[in-house]
């Protein structure tokens, strides 16, 4: 049987030769992301900001977003944003929370606003979904999201710290930061809604990206023991070449699954799937280039070998 072959066997790609370009590329990407994040900010959804969302679908034919925008603008409800959602018949209406700053609950002002919107369009649209998040709950969700990200990243770091010698740990963590920051940058650049699902995607990306790095680093560590005379670049190039086929295969299967979610899973999952797709691409790239490039800068064979081992492995004769 002729099998699909992504790469020939016994590759030895000199990955580290592209190190300069990749470093510049990554530095620009990270810097750009941070700048965008600081200047433009994130299009936070009602999960984090409070307010309400109404998803509507026309009873028949395509939705006229412009007309709808004008009509709803006349209701004087403040900041309203409309967006085609999934198909041309569906529209997502986002309205800021009414009565400034005090909208911790579904107070009369908010209730009226929702009713106004619903009544205005009831003759032509079916209400598919209504969501309201009060300002206090929004603050809590934002705080919880922040804590969850910090706790997850922290636990991943602790794990990496125990699992690997410190040069590996630092490289893996920097690569992880690279992935998270550029994903946030992507959301800032595209203005796609940043909500709870996005945070879920961020954490999953963190898990995925570190997973990739761990597999490569495991191999580098093996090869360091196996080929005592090789220099860093040779070791890293060989290890990357040995794992590249697995790295690509896994990225492709994950991408297949994600593309299926993106195209068929409905508009609600769109932002999530997009974040994940980006995360898988950038995670794959960063495991190869960011993590390994940083690692190659360290002295991986200090004269006293034991210095590099985490304490718990020092007395183990096998290591």
């Amino acid at each position: 049987m002729a099998l699909l072959r992504l790469l020939p066997a016994n590759l030895n790609i000199p990955f580290m030769r592209g190190r300069l370009y990749s470093s510049v590329f990554s530095a620009l990407l990270v810097a750009g992301s941070i700048i965008f994040w600081l200047i433009v900010g994130l299009n936070t959804g009602i999960d984090f900001r409070g307010g309400f969302v109404i998803e509507v679908k026309t009873l028949e034919g395509a939705a006229n977003v412009e007309e709808l925008r004008e009509e709803l603008g006349d209701l004087n409800l403040g900041d309203i944003s409309l967006q085609e959602f999934g198909s041309e018949r569906e529209v997502l209406i986002r309205v800021q929370s009414q009565d400034e700053g005090m909208a911790t609950d579904l107070s009369d002002a908010n209730k009226q606003a929702i009713q106004l919107v619903q009544e205005q369009i009831a003759d032509r649209y079916e209400i598919r979904r209504t969501e309201f998040v009060g300002a206090v709950v929004g603050d809590e969700l934002r705080r919880n999201a922040f804590y969850a990200v910090i706790a997850a990243l922290g636990s991943i770091m602790i794990y990496i710290w125990f699992r690997f010698e410190w040069p590996f740990a630092i490289s893996a963590i920097l690569a992880l930061a690279h992935d998270i920051i550029t994903t946030i940058g992507l959301f800032s650049l595209t203005g796609i809604e940043f909500n709870l699902a996005t945070v879920a995607a961020l954490l999953t990306i963190a898990g995925y990206s570190i997973n990739d790095t761990v597999v490569i680093f495991d191999r580098i560590r093996d090869n360091l023991k196996k080929y005592k005379s090789w220099d860093n670049d040779t070791i890293i190039n060989t290890s990357l070449s040995q794992t590249i086929s697995r790295t690509l295969m896994t990225s492709i299967t994950t991408l297949i699954a994600l593309l299926a979610i993106y195209f068929f899973g409905g508009a609600v999952l769109g932002g999530f799937a997009l974040a994940m797709i980006w995360g898988v691409l950038i995670g794959t790239y960063s495991s190869i280039y960011v993590a390994s490039t940083i690692l190659s800068r360290f002295d991986l064979r200090p004269s006293d070998d034991d210095d590099m081992l985490p304490t718990h492995e020092r007395n183990d004769p096998k290591s």
Binding site: M1, L3, R5, A9, N10, D47, E55, K57, D105, L106, E126, I127, R128, R129, E131, F132, G134, V137, L141, N144, Y147, A148, A152, S155, I156, Y159, L196, A197, V199, A200, L203, T204, A206, G207, Y208, N211, V214, V215, D218, Q242, T243, S245, R246, M249, T250, T253, T254, I256, A257, L258, L259, A260, I261, F263, F264, G265, G266, V268, L269, F272
Partner: protein, 524 residues
């Protein structure tokens, strides 16, 4: 020939069979209305409403303090202790003594009046009262508990199928209403505390003159009419008969006017009191007050005992709602809707379909790719993925998990990521074979070496998913659950099930080589 110990073999098969039968039986045995064990569809898939209600403790505290202030005023007056500046500032009540010499006496009286969970603080000649922290949290726990009971009573009567009502955090109530995509009716039921009381109208002064002068006689209060907020009634503050004395309330029609009314029955205490008050006050108007609004103030024509009716120009719907509210009792505090998410049945079923399509396309795509990359062994990996799905579904059923749209995304993602472990193993075996090892040796080393890597790699994903669980509201929690369960079952299905499958296959087919063509052998 690959040898695996018999127990390893049998145990694996046993686990797979159990998982498969659980998965199948939950699908087959499920009742039509979705009862029984098994995976439940989340509100985003079946349509329904999610409401997060906050019990407004501030107003409870405020009310308790206001009442306490009234009692203090009366008691101090009766004991001839002069006080001034009695004020309630949100959660703190304070007043000053005119004569410092009465200090000890005043303190003793105050200590006798306050509830055990309150504390008195004293500075110079000012006495203040506030709840202490544990007292306040006890009060909150109790109030939320009562509120939950009443919410349950009110929601159950609306005929919502299997509503979920639970306490969340300190002072919140989570309400999930499957199948209710427009929660307006429920919200309107929960938006009223429904505190009802019968109070005599104060006929010593007219409401208009009191309103104009702004001087309310002591012991009386001015309340607006429900129909017309500009119209007021002057009532005796004392509630003669209150909502707790109601035994039943039903919507009905007045025999003479055919007007929609609410008929009520009082319990024995209530009936006795009602009889006494009505007997003594014939000819005087008696007001029915609901949530500080006067519904009506009919003139007492004759002595009434247990049965009466409330009329006030109601529509039939209003009498239905009012009688339900009266039956369920008054909420101990107002409830505020702080979060609401409702999904219509249309979007729900679209999402289910989208989830199904995404799963099938994802699974098919991954299967196709695996088979075209690894041939027969790829087929085995696909079988392992199917077994993984069975295990996943079995675990979700046993956990009674709720499947949400992000949860489905988690499953699809698990499909994509689960084959990763297979790939790690295959690539390892390939390398061993290329290095010239025999099939059996390559099989063994491949699995052993890959196992460590697989566990490492999956633990990080598991950590991220677990933290997500604590972050999330409903749908995101669903994602965290399916990813976590998926990671665990995919580790099992690769490290253990795949080993058995591959061993069976190699032992049956007895191929010369797997995964690589013969010319690759020893090329390294």
């Amino acid at each position: 020939m690959i040898r695996l110990s018999t127990w390893f073999y049998n145990l694996t098969i046993l686990v797979v069979v159990i998982a498969a039968s659980v998965a199948v039986s939950t699908v087959v045995l499920r009742d039509d209305d979705g009862g029984g064990i098994g995976v439940n569809l989340g509100l985003d898939l079946q349509g329904g409403s999610y409401l997060l209600l906050e019990v407004d403790m501030d107003s409870v505290v405020q009310e308790r303090m206001d009442n306490l202030g009234e009692t203090i005023r009366i008691s101090m007056r009766n004991s001839r202790i002069g006080i001034s500046n009695l004020s309630v500032n949100s959660d703190r009540l304070s007043f000053q003594l005119r004569d410092e010499l009465q200090f000890i006496e005043a303190r003793d009286i105050l200590n006798g009046l306050i509830a055990p969970e309150m504390r008195v603080t004293i500075s110079e000649n000012t006495l203040s009262v506030a709840f202490d922290e544990t007292g306040l949290s006890q009060l909150t726990t109790m109030t939320v508990g009562q509120a939950i009971e009443i919410v349950r009573a009110r929601v159950d009567e609306t005929g919502t199928k299997e509503p979920v009502i639970q306490r969340q955090g300190n002072n919140r109530i989570l309400l999930q209403l499957p199948g209710v995509d427009d929660p307006e009716q429920v919200k309107s039921l929960l938006g009223k505390t429904a505190k009802i009381g019968f109070q005599l109208v104060d006929i010593s002064a007219s409401a208009e003159s009191v309103k104009a002068s702004g001087r309310v006689p002591p012991g009386s209060e001015l309340l607006p009419s429900r129909d017309n907020p500009d119209e007021h009634y002057l009532l005796n503050k004392r509630v003669m008969v209150s909502g707790e004395m109601l035994e039943d309330a039903r919507p009905s029609f007045d025999g003479q006017t055919n007007e929609a009314v609410v008929s009520f029955t009082l319990n024995s205490t209530g009936a006795e009191r009602f009889g006494r008050v009505t007997g003594q006050n014939i000819g005087r108007p008696f007001a029915i007050v609901l949530d500080n609004e006067v519904i009506s103030a009919p003139v007492i024509r004759s002595q009434i005992f247990a049965n009466g009716q409330i009329s006030g120009g109601f529509s039939v719907d209003e009498t239905n709602e009012l009688s339900l509210l009266l039956r369920s009792g008054a909420l101990p505090a107002p409830l505020l809707v702080v979060e609401e998410r409702s999904v219509g049945p249309g979007l729900g079923s679209d999402s289910v379909r989208a989830g199904q399509v995404a799963s099938i396309v994802g699974l098919a795509g991954v299967a196709l790719f695996m088979i075209s990359s690894y041939g027969m062994i790829g087929c085995l990996a696909v079988i392992a993925v199917f077994i993984n799905m069975l295990l996943l579904y079995g675990q979700l059923s046993i956990l009674g998990a709720t499947l949400t749209l992000p949860g489905i995304a988690g499953i699809v993602l698990t499909i994509g990521m689960a084959v990763d472990a297979n790939i790690i193993i295959f690539e390892r075996i390939k390398e061993e074979l290329r290095a010239g090892r025999k099939l059996a040796t390559a099989f063994k080393t491949g699995f052993n070496q890959a196992t460590g890597t697989i566990i490492d790699a999956n633990l990080t994903t598991l950590a991220a998913a677990l933290f997500l669980y604590f972050l999330g509201s409903g749908p995101v929690k669903g994602f965290s659950v399916t990813i976590s369960v998926g990671v665990i079952s995919s580790m099992f299905s690769t490290i253990i099930v795949m080993r058995v499958l591959l061993a069976i296959w190699i032992n049956t087919i007895k191929p010369e080589s797997i995964l690589i063509s013969k010319q690759d052998i020893g090329a390294n």
